[in-house]
């Protein structure tokens, strides 16, 4: 390099670059604090590289000195280089919050549903943990308070159950899901016959109807043409095994007759269901939730619905 150029006025060294005839740039040293911070970052980087996974080498990479220990599903204890997946496994197994939760989950898992209901501590846990599961997995359809959506998703806060309200039945509904199906009668019954059956259906729960048509409808309901009794039973009480609605209890999950004001509107609603049939699906949660989570959820639903079954 050529000898340093000096600024004649200050005597300070310049970079030697000149712009616009006289504009020059001082070559002052960097401030000390800045320089040392810069060196510190270099040292930090080297420490970081050697602690955590960093530089690629061919088909592998520098794994770093930091290690994590976790248990495999098979129960084997393993130690590996630091990585997010092992860190998650470790956190799920030994994290403070996870262990607190685990203690409760194990307690609930070992207890019977009666014991959970009677123990205030476990009941409170079920309310809080169950609320989390319900909020994420169930509330989209059954709504945050379990009230359901009329015509689409059944309410869970009454004592009326399509697939049964015992703990075993609720458990099965969650684990295996449910497929509710009622055939469409638009091709098998004439519009008059649909009208007659609808009148008969309304008569079950004492809603205003045409008694003459209902008498005819009864024959279709319990006869070969309609065959409605096969699922809804002759008494109209429905079967849990089929998920067929109880028609006698004034609780309507699809044709929400209570929301309509005139008898004609109520009749039209029921006719629509008979004409179009019903296809409803409750998704399978047996893979998404583990056995303990399902137990918490069942206990939560029993609490929420206040069901006596």
């Amino acid at each position: 390099m050529a000898s340093p150029v000096k600024d004649p006025l200050t005597g300070a060294e310049t970079t030697g670059h000149v712009w616009d005839e006289t504009l020059q740039e001082f070559n002052n040293p960097l401030p000390r604090w800045w320089l040392w911070t810069f060196y510190a970052t270099i040292i930090f980087a080297i420490v970081y590289w050697s602690t955590y996974p960093s530089w690629p080498i061919g088909g592998s990479y520098l794994k770093g000195f930091s290690t994590l220990t976790y248990k495999t599903d098979a129960g084997e204890t393993k130690t590996t280089h630091w990585n997010m997946r092992a860190l998650l496994a470790q956190d799920m197994q030994t994290g403070e919050q996870a262990l607190k939760q685990k203690a409760y989950l194990e307690k609930v898992s070992a207890a019977s549903y009666e014991q959970i209901a009677q123990d205030p501590d476990m009941s409170a846990f079920v309310r809080s943990y169950g609320n989390g599961i319900f909020g994420d997995k169930c509330a989209a359809c059954h709504q945050a308070g379990g009230q359901g959506v009329a015509g689409l998703f059944p309410t869970l806060v009454d004592d009326d159950w399509l697939w049964g309200g015992s703990v075993e039945q609720i458990h099965q509904t969650i684990v295996g899901g449910r497929n509710g199906y009622m055939p469409a009668y638009n091709t098998t019954l004439t519009p008059e016959q649909v009208d007659e059956v609808a009148n008969y259906v309304l008569s079950f729960s004492g809603i205003e109807h045409n008694a003459e048509a209902a008498a005819k409808g009864q024959k279709i309901f319990n006869g070969y043409a309609g065959g409605c009794y096969q699922c809804h039973t002759v008494e109209g009480k429905g079967l849990y095994s089929q998920g067929s609605a109880n028609l006698t209890d004034q609780i309507w999950t699809i044709a929400d007759t209570t929301a309509e004001e005139t008898p004609a509107e109520r009749l039209a609603l029921v006719k629509k269901v008979i004409t179009n049939g019903v296809q409803r699906q409750m998704p399978v949660f047996g893979q998404r939730l583990n056995e303990t989570e399902i137990k918490v959820l069942v206990a939560y639903l029993k609490q929420m619905s206040g069901t006596q079954q």
Binding site: G59, K78, L88, M92, A140
Partner: protein, 263 residues
């Protein structure tokens, strides 16, 4: 010899050299991922040896196109990170393998709405239909826009074969020839497994570009995703796509340790 002054006084050269410097930084971060063996997990059924992650069927693929067209990714991510809170809410963390046939991937980083990486099977088709038409009718606090036109618009699937061919060019194993389907041996005696061997016959049939339209129609008819069997709407395609998200890997067949070993 390139001098400091000549770079500082020549903005064109400065730009070029700045880009080179940034380029080196980028390449150092990206290129090794293509060489490191454990970047993408090997997810094969432990019993049958069949690959679990498969390319999308023609109907799902059109659904994915609609997902992108409607900008769903601007509010929904498809990437469950390995944190306890995400595991508890969404399920198993996303594997690299699960998005290996996604071009472009839909990982995202903006969660105005929930993550959708494992939404498949979580809700019924009827819920999805209702929710896409009018989100607030089922989720009162939702701020998601209404998408009523999805149900009203007939799905245009005339170019689905061309779309699959385009994806095939970037490495997605859709098949055009019998060899690609059944496997072949090259001059050097090297065996190339076909899609039948890799994914099983049932899946391999859905990856055949020559049968794309038939497959799309068959799936839409069998699935009847939007509840209206009279026509195939964009809603059918989108729900078919949503219902497959995150469902391809059966995690119960693996020890969790297996996936940790890939990191």
């Amino acid at each position: 010899m390139l001098k400091h002054e000549s770079i500082e006084t020549n903005s064109g050269l400065l730009i070029v050299l700045t880009l080179v410097a940034i380029g080196i930084g980028g390449l150092v971060e990206i290129v090794p991922l293509h060489y490191i063996d454990s970047t993408i997990e090997d997810v094969k059924d432990p019993q049958t040896g069949v690959e679990m992650v498969r390319p999308y069927s023609p109907l799902e693929l059109r659904g994915r196109d609609i997902y992108i067209r409607e900008g769903c990714y601007t509010c929904h991510s498809q990437m469950i990170r390995p944190f306890r809170d995400e595991d508890l809410r969404y399920g198993h963390y996303s594997l690299a393998a699960e998005s290996k046939y996604d071009h472009p991937f839909q990982w995202g980083s903006k969660r105005t709405g929930p993550d959708l990486a494992r939404v498949g099977g979580k809700y019924s088709n009827a819920w999805h239909t209702q929710h896409l038409i009018a989100p607030r009718s089922v989720v009162p606090e939702s701020i998601m826009p209404n998408y009523p036109w999805l149900l009203e618009t007939e799905l245009d699937y005339s170019d689905v074969g061309a779309r699959m061919t385009a994806l095939k060019k970037v490495g997605v194993p859709y098949t055009l020839t019998k060899d690609e389907y059944a496997g072949w041996t090259d001059e050097k005696g090297q065996k190339h497994p076909g899609t039948v061997e890799r994914f099983g016959e049932k899946v391999a049939n859905t990856l055949d570009i020559n049968r794309a339209e038939d497959n799309l129609l068959a799936q839409a008819k069998a699935g009847n995703y939007d509840g209206d069997p009279s026509s195939i709407s964009e809603m059918d395609a989108l729900i078919a796509y949503l219902q497959v998200l995150g469902t391809m890997v059966d995690f119960s067949k693996f020890d969790e340790d297996y996936f940790i070993q890939f990191r």
